[in-house]
Amino acid sequence: MSLRALVALAGLGAAAATAAPFAYITNQGSHDVSVIDLATQAVVATVPVGRSPAGVVASSRAGKVFVSNPDSHDISVIDMRTQAVIGRLEAGAAPVGIDAAADGSRVFAADWYGNRLLVFDPARPAPVARIDVGRAPAGVAAHPDGDTVFVAERDDDAVAVVSLRDGRVRARVAVGSHPFALLHDAARERLYALNVQSDDVSVIDLKRLAVIATVRVGKAPYGAALAGGGGALLYVTNQHDDTVSVIDAERLTVVRTLDGFGYPEGIASDGGRVYVVNWMDERVSVLDALTGRTLRQIPTGQNSRGFGAFIGAPTP
């Protein structure tokens, strides 16, 4: 190998070590987070966090990962460059779903038992606002407009549209039975609500704040991610079916159902790959986004969940 090639390789290696995205998988049974380097597809760190970590959001803009720990009532803050916990935020009774503002300046967590949306400035150790929402708030999705945050009100079968400026719920959209996870589709200005009890996905048009379609999937849909060219495919994990539904995001029809998963929960995509967290099997399945084929399995910690947008890379 020529010197030039070696130098080029070394350069690539260095770039991969600092800039390659990482997947942060919460392990509820071992109270830690498995950090997967997506360039090498290997676990590069296992980070102890609070008790029973469930929710996660990797904020590339903040260079930080926020992990909700329902059993220690807090949020662990992980630095993406050092893969170490650098902070802890007090988070009500039981934080579950979590998301971050597009610019990384705010973090939002649903307080499952407190029936509130907690708003954090990550530099401060306690919430800067607490906004009342409906019963058993679960999934959270922040809109890039900087004002709107959506919260799945599981036991009310609704999605709350929260205005941060007003500090209150400004609208509600009735969805299917027991919505848990939410996913914002920026390209189509839609919100997907996954209804774990009615086994379907409510598609909400955000301009009209109305459900425009309901897509039947497998039993207990739990997590969703957009993948493929331009987010053409909506992937949904079906916990109780051990399957993943692949939906044509334009036509809103199921194009295929993949099997071979073990209680699949969290899901996220990056660079033509889809990462599915298997709670039962304690591993991440790496899929080819276009074909749905499983390329590889990566072991995680115990009872892995990865509930949220778990992939990110620190922006330089």
Binding site: P70, A93, W112, H240, D242, W279, M280, N303
Partner: protein, 178 residues
Amino acid sequence: MTPRFTRRRLGAALLLAALAAPALAHGPTRQKAVEKITIDAPAAVVWAKIKNFDALKDWHPAVAESPADNGNNEGSVRSVKLKGGGELSEKLEKYDDAQMRYSYRAKDGGALPVTNYTSTIQVSAEGGKAVVEWRGAFYRGYPNNDPPPDQNDEAAVAAITGVYQGGLANLKKLVEGK
């Protein structure tokens, strides 16, 4: 500090604790049990032994009766009577004869100290032998903080693990004939 002041402070502290208690209450965390056994027989033979949803009584040593109201059709409910007393009501949620697998969900309030319990049993072929995997996901019986010892996470895992181990060991004995 006067005793009276101390009492008042204590009273305030107790009141605060009482107010904080419901807010601090957090739900249990989902638990699981996975048990596997290798049986020296073709997978199809082992599947034939357990494939009928109502056949539990024929191979699980703790089960006296297990009639199902709609055979192997999804939605069929089997009423399990345990030999030691106690009952369970389990609904068939998924049945796949080709994959040699079925999944069911238990109604809460049965003889096991769990809630929201779902389970899957599957037979697969591995090098001429059968591997049976029985796995379940569930929450403990007690929904709030500080569960009594017989309804905590450990009790739930121990109970389900016991059901699986007992059933699989007996199934192996029945099929292998030793």
